[in-house]
């Protein structure tokens, strides 16, 4: 019954616009069909254009907290999103929400319901030798003001300020030494200042050719307090703080690392750096810096995921000084 009615309906439409009303000639018919097709495609494309991509907010439910200069989000662009999800999911227990928008695949990473990171799929052309890296997003109140200040102090804009529905306004810069970072004015507020749980981002370090001038640059952007940390001759280690909390360190590029270049490195909290480093290797990753005791009394390591994106592992024992450094 219904197929018959449909068939009749289809038959009837062309008859109305058929030869007796579409004269003269076939050219006219095709012109009309063409115009109809254009109208149809515009009608279909407009809703696609208008439909916003709903990426998760930084904080849910929204808060009124703002912590300028704090690392509040990280983003990884990788040529193999499935491999990245498998690696970080198995290593830290992250769960993912997949989002597809305009041909791009996003995987939003969560731990216990809290948004931790975003992984974006993007193929690297075979002719280009590049490797994935985590991009750090620091909290600001005004992205456009941050851009102005950054440009005035020697930075470059890699991605102009733009708004992301439900997330806020963001921009990507490279600092005067070339380290790439992003700023984000979160429309849902910033995450609270609490101790990161294992599997969450706990620390950031800037490794740069000139910590002194880079500290001044970031101080301009984020109003950091800058403290000098003990360092061996020829090196400089600085601590950057805001809201009376340590936010990051700025460190001289290692002397025996000829192919190094300025970069930000973010650290995930782990309970046992040695065990997690072994797990990284078992999952196809690499060790870049072997586990070692740092000034807080726990161990840190630097590893890379199977696609080459580097990140740090940092123990932060619940009790004071899990291991004590022997004075030199």
């Amino acid at each position: 019954m219904h197929p018959q009615r449909s068939s009749n309906l289809i038959d009837s439409i062309p008859n109305q616009i058929g030869p007796q009303r579409m004269q003269p000639g076939r050219a006219g018919q095709f012109l009309r069909i063409g115009l109809l097709a254009v109208l149809l495609c515009v009608a279909c494309a407009v809703p696609v254009m208008a439909a916003p991509v709903h990426l998760p907010a930084i904080v849910e439910p929204p808060s009124q907290e703002h912590h300028i200069g704090k690392l509040i989000f990280v983003q990884l662009v990788t040529p193999d999103i499935a491999a990245a999800k498998q690696f970080y999911g198995e290593l830290f227990g992250w769960t993912f929400r997949d989002i597809q928008a305009g041909g791009t695949k996003y995987a939003e990473a969560f731990l216990d319901g809290r948004l931790l990171a975003e992984i974006i799929h993007k193929q690297v052309p075979a002719s280009e030798h590049r490797q994935p890296a985590w991009l750090s997003f620091f909290a600001v109140g005004d992205v456009d003001a941050a851009k102005k200040a950054a440009l005035q102090h020697g930075a470059k804009v890699l991605f102009e300020p733009h708004s992301v529905p439900d997330r806020g306004r963001e921009a990507v810069f490279s600092d005067p030494q070339g380290a790439v970072f992003a700023v984000l004015a979160s429309s849902s507020g910033d995450p609270p200042d609490v101790l990161a749980a294992p599997g969450e981002w706990i620390w950031s370090s800037l490794i740069t050719s000139d910590p002194d001038s880079d500290a001044a640059f970031y101080q301009t952007l984020f109003d950091y307090e800058v403290f000098e940390l003990p360092a061996s001759p020829g090196a400089q280690h600085l601590l950057l703080a805001s809201d009376n909390y340590a936010r990051a360190s700025a460190n001289t590029l290692p002397a025996n690392s000829p192919k190094a270049h300025p970069h930000w490195l973010n650290y995930l909290r782990v309970e046992d750096t040695v065990k997690m480093t072994a797990k990284v290797v078992a999952l196809g990753g690499r060790v870049l810096v072997e586990p070692r005791v740092d000034r807080h009394g726990g161990k840190v390591a630097v590893v890379a995921d199977p696609l080459g994106a580097p990140f740090g592992l940092l123990e932060w024992p619940e009790t004071e000084s899990k291991e004590v450094e022997v004075p030199k």
Partner: protein, 107 residues
């Protein structure tokens, strides 16, 4: 009948194709995010840390700046006042509790 079906098939095909093309033009890079341009150059060295290379913060909040730091030495940055002790990362738990983990200085 065949000609009619052919016309409508052609109409649908052209419409679909143009829709995809238009959508692709309008959403370059696939959306609102940074869009995926951040890759590092291949072969960059992230290791090479010497034995004294330290990147982490101190624990607790009662460490005072070491070396010459913070007291008028020539730096590009504006050093924290000597009266400010060096803060650490937040240490309070997510479930609540008092603010802790920073420096001993109150603001």
């Amino acid at each position: 009948m065949k000609i009619i079906l052919l016309r409508w098939s052609a109409l649908a095909f052209v419409g679909l194709t143009l829709t995809v093309v238009l959508s692709g033009c309008i959403l370059p890079g696939g959306g609102y995010g940074y869009g995926g341009e951040y890759y590092e150059p291949y072969g960059v060295d992230y290791g090479g840390w010497g034995p004294d290379y330290r990147v982490a913060p101190f624990r607790g909040g009662d460490h005072h700046p070491g070396g010459e730091g913070g007291h008028g030495s020539a730096h590009a940055y504006r050093a924290a006042p000597a009266s400010h002790s060096m803060p650490s990362i937040p240490s309070s738990s997510r479930s609540g509790g008092s603010r802790s983990g920073g420096g001993s200085r109150s603001r």
